[in-house]
Amino acid sequence: MLRVISRRLVQLVVTLLALMTLVFFWLRSLPGGPVDALLGERATPQTRELLTRALGYDQPIWVQYGRFLKNVVTGNFGNSIRTGEPVTEVISRAFPATVELAVAAIIIAIGLGVPLGYLAARHRGRLLDNATIIVTLVGISIPIFFLGYLLKDWLTQGLHLFPPSGRISTGMDNTDVTGFFVLDGLLTRELDASADALWHLVLPAVTLATIPLAIIIRITRASVLDVLDEDYIRTADAKGLRNPTIRKRHVLRNALLPVVTIIGLQTGALLAGAVLTEKVYNWGGLGTLITDSIGGSRDYPVLQALILLAAAVFVVVNLLVDLSYAVIDPRVRVR
């Protein structure tokens, strides 16, 4: 197990290094650099020159690359061009927002998806099953931003059931401990802040959860159907095991393997979905950060760090998924 993990970590470093190089040169080949984005219409040519020199963009590209590599290896990702803050600070502020959103979405997706998929399989061909299939089809095919705007229009404009955007009500004056607002409210006993943050979390989480939810329902259903046909289920039944035991110990556990794989793969999709969801709900997490740093401002340092982070998260989650196979199904040997 340890050898597996260490080998994966080495792979991770190599992947990140290659990616970093790619991103560095790709960003700099785009037209319109940060100098233009920063200066706007008022800048005189002298100012433009000053800024180009100050940012070191007048030096040859390999010198810039060398400086960049050196900085990254020493853990220095530079400062955001847009705000002047250290990139690590910018990202660590946005990270909890996205994680909070993603975790909520995953909880909804798994919490509803696995039972619904299981029930659909148990009632194969009946009303519940058909309804589930239709609903998941809609869930997969509806674009996130469209769903987001629909939900907002219905539930926040006429009805005022939920707030239209943001993570917490303006002027809530909540104490920031971990950056996870719901948790922070509990920790500091600011229960109103916690409830308010949860209330803000509902619509974005539902929006983000639709696609993974639909996929999890479908995979669970298919997987349970497969397992139900297996010989060992018949054997278990024949030897007189009680139904709940069969379902829990034999059906569900064996059916979960593909589901877990999918959940791992969905992490990437969740990040992509978060970009759209966060835009619709003015969420202020990593998704918002990505949009901000690509659009107008060309915030290279932030963008570079974000891409690395996304890659690292993806690789680590998939490693965890691989490791979890061994726990769920002892037949699988992780090598």
Partner: protein, 555 residues
């Protein structure tokens, strides 16, 4: 046996989590005020939805509206505008005077004004600000002083520098001497970038230290955490996690004290979301509602407040193309455009056709310039006289952007292009992204024949409009040799006597329309604000320089 083991394990896990949670709950302190910020005599909170993040709160290092909005509430300038107009009036200076040479400016300061840190605003403090700007060290810092470089020409040691020295004649008289006369003054003294900050606070919080780190740099504690001016609001913090800038009422303000106790600028980048928040009642005012939403919002009972227009949208003509060097062809283009209809169909409410490149509130606006009323036949005739029938032009327009003067570039392009086609000019539309395409192609490489672009005025001075576009040879308009135009504008700009300056700029504007026509002015389009019904006293400013001390929120 196994089942019970499992049960034990889950019980243990649950117990651990519970213990951890309770333990943590004991650790984390709430840092809310317990002073009861919302007392009974409260003026309440005013929540304004801004459209983007500010950069920081040190006025001199900023040049964009989103940074200036909070800065303007916390600082004052020497000269300012009468509310709702572009007319100059005293700010921190009660009065000001320019000597006959135009180089010496004497400011009589208001007495008894204090910065938020309690230090006095006196002539020494004013001079400390001028000296600080002029003596700023380091390329990083200098490169961020965009307005300073533009208006003051350069820094200590530069031969182009406009600033010479500032003397405190007595505690309430500051005398600023320039190396030469510059037409931008006194208008430019109203620029938010030239707000007066507390020298004590700037020293204490290291305002001039702009540190470089790799590809970028960061600002001082003064700029981020301790901005200290004389304004109607004091700084209450910028919560970046929630995108809220809090400003508190300055109870010792020298002017009209704020009616609300607290103002929050909530940053919402998406235009549609800003509108939804307004409708949900979670914010009380939004900037730049989409032109398409104006009517709906007004019908629903929201107040849509138009700012008096202080901007210009123009169709630029690039004379690098030899055909376009012929004045008749440029006039044909002007005649071909049905601008009145464009204003009606695509203009934001309150927009008006522009005949000159500056709004009529600015000095030097001429009442009698040549107008180009829509006339297709005239356009065709001029084209054939010039031997330019069958002309094909590349028309560049920006995408992924809306500007106050240009809410919908794509649609504006379509209408203008159709007009030109109707007059027999073939149009080849070239859409380019605003950053990373349009601005480079148009302003640095001059690839276009035609393009649309515009400008929002910074201060009340004709040089800030006409001079910006046509005061020197620019790639954008292709011709480096229109020296007659450059000279005329340069001369007008250098005229010290205001009456003579007015006459000179009136002539410039007549000649721009009749003789030079380097571009076609399209419209002046006022950007709007929208507020909920219970917001009173918000005065829209043509310069988008609203001050919120007059705003009150009723229940």
């Amino acid at each position: 046996m196994r089942a019970s083991g499992k049960g034990l394990r889950s019980a243990l896990a649950a117990g651990t989590i519970a213990v951890l949670t309770i333990g943590a709950a004991g650790c984390a302190e709430s840092d809310r005020d317990n002073g009861g910020g919302e007392g009974s005599a409260s003026g309440g909170t005013f929540i304004f939805a801004g459209a983007g993040d500010p950069k920081n709160f040190d006025p001199i290092f900023n040049d964009d509206g989103e940074s200036f909005r909070p800065i303007r509430q916390m600082y004052d300038t020497l000269i300012t505008h009468k509310p709702g107009t572009a007319e100059l009036t005293g700010g921190l200076a009660e009065s000001w005077e320019n000597d006959a040479s135009g180089k010496v400016w004497t400011f009589k300061l208001r007495q008894g004004v204090k910065f938020h840190d309690g230090s006095p605003l006196d002539a020494a403090a004013v001079c400390a600000n001028f000296d600080r700007w002029f003596n700023m060290k380091g390329e990083a810092a200098q490169s961020q002083m965009i307005y300073y470089q533009d208006v003051f020409g350069g820094f200590a040691g530069s031969k182009d520098a406009v600033y010479d020295n500032c003397k405190a004649q007595d505690a309430s008289t500051a005398v600023v001497t320039m190396t030469r006369y510059k037409g931008a003054f006194p208008g430019a003294f109203t620029l938010t970038a030239f707000s007066i900050a507390s020298p004590t606070a700037m020293k204490q919080y290291d305002s001039d230290t702009v540190t470089q780190n790799g590809d970028s740099f960061s600002y001082s504690a003064f700029a981020n955490e301790h901005p200290t001016g004389t304004g109607a609001f004091t700084f209450g913090g910028w919560n970046k996690a929630t995108g809220e800038i809090t400003l508190n009422k300055n109870a010792d303000y020298w002017g009209d004290k704020a009616k609300v106790d607290k103002m929050i600028i909530k940053i919402i980048k998406d235009e549609n979301t800003r509108k939804q928040e307004l409708r949900a009642g979670t914010v009380q005012a939004i900037d730049y509602p989409a032109p398409a939403d104006r009517k709906a919002l007004a019908d629903e009972g929201y107040k849509v407040l138009d700012r008096p227009a202080f901007n210009i949208l123009y169709l630029g003509i690039n004379q690098k193309n030899p055909k376009l060097k012929d004045l008749r062809v440029r006039q044909a283009i002007a005649y071909a455009l049905n601008r009145a209809q464009l204003v009606q169909t695509k203009g934001p409410g309150g927009a008006a056709v522009a005949d000159e490149f500056l709004p009529n509130t600015v000095l030097g606006y001429a009442q009698d310039v040549q107008k180009y009323e829509y006339n297709v036949d005239k356009a065709k005739q001029l084209l054939s006289e010039a031997g330019a029938t069958g002309l094909t032009l590349n028309f560049y327009y920006p995408t992924e952007v809306t500007r106050p003067y240009m809410p919908n570039p794509q649609e504006i392009f379509t209408v203008l292009a159709n007009d030109l086609q109707a007059a027999g000019i073939k149009v080849n539309g070239v859409p380019r992204p605003w950053n990373g395409g349009f601005k480079d192609d148009v302003q640095q490489f001059g690839k276009q024949d035609l393009h649309i672009l515009g400008w929002t005025g910074d201060y009340n001075d004709p040089g800030n409009f006409v001079g910006t576009f046509f005061g020197r040879g620019k790639v954008e308009f292709g011709d480096q040799a229109m020296t007659e135009m450059f000279d005329a504008i340069g001369k007008a700009d250098a005229t010290v006597d205001q009456a003579a300056k007015k006459t000179a700029f009136e002539q410039v504007n007549r000649d721009l329309a009749a003789k030079w026509l380097p571009a076609v002015p399209i419209w002046h389009a006022p950007p709007a604000l929208a507020t909920t019904k219970n917001v009173e006293g918000l005065v829209p400013s043509p310069l988008t320089a609203e001050e919120f001390n007059t705003v009150s929120v009723t229940k």
